[in-house]
Subunit: 131 residues, 4 copies
DNA sequence: GTGGTCTAGACCACA
DNA sequence: GTGGTCTAGACCACG
């Protein structure tokens, strides 16, 4: 399950799915012909309404990113060249994500050093668990 | 007026203002005590309704990022999240930010190892620069 | 619909709704998980604009008193302030409430000693009852 | 200085002064002919704009509760019988204030026992001070 | 001048 | 059906 939904972000849930899927295809994480999780399975996994997933898939199909075949499922469409991201572009986007993390950490009152240490722990040990 | 609104992004306008202001404060572009543009001036500059700007400012105020003084204007507040929120809550929110970063990195086609290496570089050397 | 609005009090309508809901939750009149009237239904019942009710609900949500689920409605949340706010902040806010009580008692002509005695009675015997 | 202003309450500052003064007169804390603090002194003490105090005083005069004599100051007017509160009414209002305190304490996550203990400390030792 | 509240009403997101 | 966003514009509170 590699989707991540933030219900407090203000961005519609269906758009979050749309954007994450579109980016994964553009980055080559999802390859042509590969099958996406079924609407029902993804809705269950994300604990959201199936209509919301369906909406995201419809928009993805409308934009030519996936193909929906009734009775079979949703599949990544043949990739258009202009949708593929260069390594430079991928690095640029990742750096933007780093920046967003730094902003969050700042406003949560963490110093850059604390952020670094906590990230280290997080990446090696995984999310903190209660108990 | 360094705000810019993207009406095609799907993110509510008031949230775009909120995020940009938050980012500007974290980056030191807006300093403690500094005055933000008036609600009406910013609304005019961005060609949006003053209520939308007011909403953004109110959210910024309730998150402790700015202080609004009636009849005077909006000013960048001193940072204080670490005094208001419990450490558990602050860690919980930071971990959520970590999750978002991990998901985005995955969707950009980076492996956890690459992410870790790139973060290491980023945190020690600062943002990558073109050229 | 046990809300009532006093348009002559000077207190904003949205705040009156906020305070009454908060009080109802504290008193156990509204229990965890219970659904509040829909924004539109309450607005109609109180003969006010739906936006005003929505504002009250949003403030209640950001203070962790209710949870709003799009397309479903507003529900009383589980209490969790003690998990989000630091103990220092909670004590600070409680002390402010003490101050307000002291001022009001003074303005009602009670001495600090009377206040203390009456509080003692109140806290041990519960609210005074007529008769 | 027996006024207490809550700038976060949403109730206009001038109204808070008005209500507190009116109640003090009604309860007999302020007696006929007694002088109120000057506009300038009160504004300084409460760290608010003198115009705001002046506005409160004007409303108090308009309602016959005080008399403003240019060059001399503001004085409590002869009390109208209907403005005087019975002991029963004063107790009723104090009980309401107790209730408001309990609601606050509840939502801040304090148990009734904690509230009682903290109140005891507060009333005997005064507000907690840093250090 | 500043921001705050409220209304009326359009249109969107989501179940 | 639910709530969310935005607009246009009136009127108030405050400096």
């Amino acid at each position: 399950m590699w989707f991540h939904i933030d219900t407090t972000s203000g961005t519609p849930v269906y758009l979050q799915i749309y954007q994450q899927a579109k980016q994964a295809v553009a980055a080559g994480v999802l390859r042509s012909g590969e099958q996406l999780p079924s609407v029902r399975a993804l809705a269950e996994g994300l604990v959201i309404n199936p209509n919301t997933v369906a909406r995201a898939y419809q928009e993805l199909e409308r934009d030519g990113i996936i193909e929906i075949i009734r009775g079979k499922g949703a599949f990544v469409a043949a990739r258009k060249a202009e949708l593929v991201l260069s390594r430079e572009e991928r690095l640029r986007r990742l750096t933007e994500a780093f920046e967003r993390l730094k902003v969050e950490a700042y406003h949560l009152g963490f110093t850059p050093e604390e952020l670094r240490d906590l990230l280290e722990v997080y990446l090696t040990e995984g999310p903190a668990r209660p108990g």
